[in-house]
């Protein structure tokens, strides 16, 4: 640490160059994010989707389960902007409602993955030795698990009991969120661990340790905030992965029950009527695609903004 102390305690600090206004780290990140044009466009589109899903059902008040056999499998029209399904239910209303579930699952599963991943990664990164080795072996083991078959297995085994305990909707929601999150935390854990390995040797951490900070305080106040950038990027991508996972489960007929029309579930119902009513499959599929695409682009922009070392 030689050379980093001032020659004398009374030496005046060099005058700060006052020409540029101070930019906060988040302002700097926003400046870099804006440079990624597609990411900005995606952010706008994604915001529109989220707002539509949140506020849409308030505006478009057609019930999602109103059966009308005289309006079966109709294409888009003024009365039904996205057409109807085989029971004559309005697809726009169903998609707005289902979008809420799909997005909620995506964000909740991401939270589970990030919390578990950060926990495992921090513990491994700060403790070294045997704990680190065991946790990383566990992480590698989970990485080599075939997640979809296991998702299906867990849902098959636990669906009925949970439904009996907390009701069909909440039960399947908790189960799907927990399982998807439980199979997505590994990349975050590895990232956090790698960040910890480089950060814990840095001077500011050493300084804090020298001042007598306890290990939890070191982790919470000094290391974690600095490891946040890559975690935010990974979290964004995790939302997309979770939405795809939920849609896949519902598409296989093993996700939400039929009365909860998530986007994947609508696709599942639509796939046998592709030749009569292609719109029925195209709209929910397009919604999943657009959401995932925009989230991925936003993640890409965030990587430029928050993780400057990885910019190519």
């Amino acid at each position: 640490m030689a050379g980093s102390t001032l020659a004398s305690a009374t030496a005046s600090a060099p005058a700060a160059p006052a020409q540029r206004p101070l930019v906060s780290p988040w302002g700097e990140a926003w400046r870099r994010f804006r440079k990624h044009r597609l990411a900005v466009v995606s952010l706008v589109v994604l915001t529109v989707i989220i707002l539509a899903v949140l506020l849409g059902p308030l505006v478009w008040t057609v019930p999602i389960d109103e059966i009308n056999f005289r309006a079966r499998l109709q294409g888009p029209s003024l009365a039904h902007p996205l057409g109807t399904d085989d029971l004559g239910q309005d697809l726009l209303a169903r998609m707005l409602y289902g979008g809420r579930i799909s997005l909620a699952v995506g964000f909740a599963a991401m939270l589970v993955a990030v919390v578990v991943g950060t926990l495992v990664g921090s513990v491994a990164g700060i403790s070294r030795g045997a704990t680190d080795a065991v946790l990383m072996w566990l992480t590698d083991l989970f990485l080599s698990l075939p997640s979809l078959p296991l998702l299906l297995l867990v849902i098959y085994l636990f669906r009925e009991p949970l439904r009996a305990i907390v009701g069909p909707e909440v039960g399947i929601f908790i189960l799907i969120v927990a399982v998807i999150g439980g199979f997505n935390w590994m990349p975050v854990a590895r990232l956090v661990r790698a960040q910890f390995f480089s950060l814990r040797e840095k001077e500011f951490v050493e300084a804090a340790r020298a001042l007598g900070a306890s290990t939890p305080r070191l982790v919470w106040r000094h290391i974690l905030p600095n490891a946040l950038g890559p975690v935010i990027v990974a979290a964004t991508i995790d939302v997309a992965a979770a939405i795809i996972a939920e849609s896949t489960l519902s598409f296989l007929g093993l996700g939400f029950p039929p009365d909860i029309p998530t986007w994947g579930r609508i696709l599942f119902d639509a796939k046998d009527n592709l030749d009569y009513a292609p719109h029925w499959a195209l709209f929910p599929g397009g919604a999943i695609f657009l959401t995932v695409l925009t989230i991925n682009f936003v993640g890409d922009g965030l990587r430029d903004a928050l993780d400057p070392r990885r910019v190519v």
Binding site: L141, P149, L157, E160, L282, F289
Partner: protein, 319 residues
């Protein structure tokens, strides 16, 4: 080389054991009792039920049950399918070749897309080609396989009526026609999986090649007067492939997930669709066995990646 192989195989054993522990724990933790039917049947007195449980070892402590289950699995006693009425291992062996064929050819397709496109994009960074390739790759891996599958069916089977959308294992034709029919029905599932993987790999290849191409030894190779083609193929790509192999191995679980979905959409009679139908029919022995087979396949491909890694990177010693 043999020693290296043996060491890699030995490292795979704990992973397999770990997976078997996870599988068994999930099964053991799951509520529900195999004797539920007997319990509700008034003709069976409770004492008989208890005796039956004890004789089947259901009341043993969990580690004893685990070891019993594991030895049975290792001996090839995988149980009996409730639905198909044949042994589970025979059922899986019937279905496995189709799955491996579809996955294998889709990986070849993915490689044939990702390698040239990724290398070309990286040698001309930020050019028009690079931008288009990058955007397409982004679109490609944001399109979930179940949606691409439906789009393919909609376009190629319903709109153009070129390709059949139901995979048939029995085709009554002979000679070249038989081969052609098989290829025709495999095109869509293979392409759906291949394009999805290809899109993801293109990005891996591009960034790996970009990392390597700026290194000094590449400049040296060019300065020696080597042709650009030789520089790229022999000096750049080989080294760039090393990180790509690792990433591809990490992608394996995703590949198998995609395979399950594609098999379900196109009704390919592989182990993926077997898993789904077994779940829908509550056929527990089949579900457990297929999940275990998928885990073994992932580990096997990871092993393969390790061996490839050793071949690509001479710095890794085999001893």
């Amino acid at each position: 080389m043999t020693q290296y192989l043996i060491r890699r195989l030995l490292i795979a054993v704990p992973s397999l054991l770990g997976i078997s522990v996870i599988l068994f724990t999930v099964l053991a933790l799951a509520p529900g009792d195999p004797f539920e039917e007997l319990a509700t049947n008034p003709a069976v007195p409770p004492e008989v039920r208890m005796q039956l449980r004890a004789s089947l070892g259901l009341d043993d402590p969990i580690h004893v049950r685990y070891i019993a289950w594991l030895t049975a699995m290792l001996r090839g006693e995988w149980g009996f399918s409730f639905i198909s009425r044949i042994d589970v291992d025979r059922l899986i062996l019937q279905r496995l070749p189709t799955t491996l064929l579809v996955i294998g050819s889709s990986q070849v397709v993915a490689l044939m897309i990702a390698l040239p496109v990724g290398v070309l994009a990286a040698t001309r960074p930020y050019s028009l080609f690079d931008k288009i390739a990058n955007t397409l790759a982004f679109l490609g891996f944001s399109l979930p396989t179940f949606f691409t599958g439906l789009l393919f069916i909609l376009f190629f089977s319903i709109y153009l009526d070129w390709l059949p959308f139901v995979y048939r294992s029995q085709i009554d034709a002979t000679g070249w026609r038989w081969v052609w029919e098989h290829i025709r029905q495999a095109i869509m599932p293979v392409m759906v999986l291949g394009l999805f993987q290809g899109a993801a790999w293109t990005r891996f290849v591009r960034s790996a090649v970009l990392d390597v191409i700026r290194l000094d030894y590449v400049t040296t190779a060019r300065a020696k007067g080597l042709e650009e083609r030789v520089v790229i193929n022999r000096h750049v790509v080989r080294n760039a492939l090393i990180p790509v192999v690792t990433l591809v191995a990490l992608q394996m679980p995703t590949v198998f997930g995609g395979a399950i979905v594609t098999e379900q959409i196109f009704r390919v009679p592989g182990i993926g669709s077997l898993l789904i139908s077994a779940i829908l029919a509550n056929d527990t022995p089949v579900i457990m066995a297929v999940t275990f087979v998928f885990s073994c396949l992932v580990i096997f491909f990871n092993l393969l990646a390790d061996i490839l890694y050793g071949w690509l990177d001479p710095r890794i010693s085999y001893s």
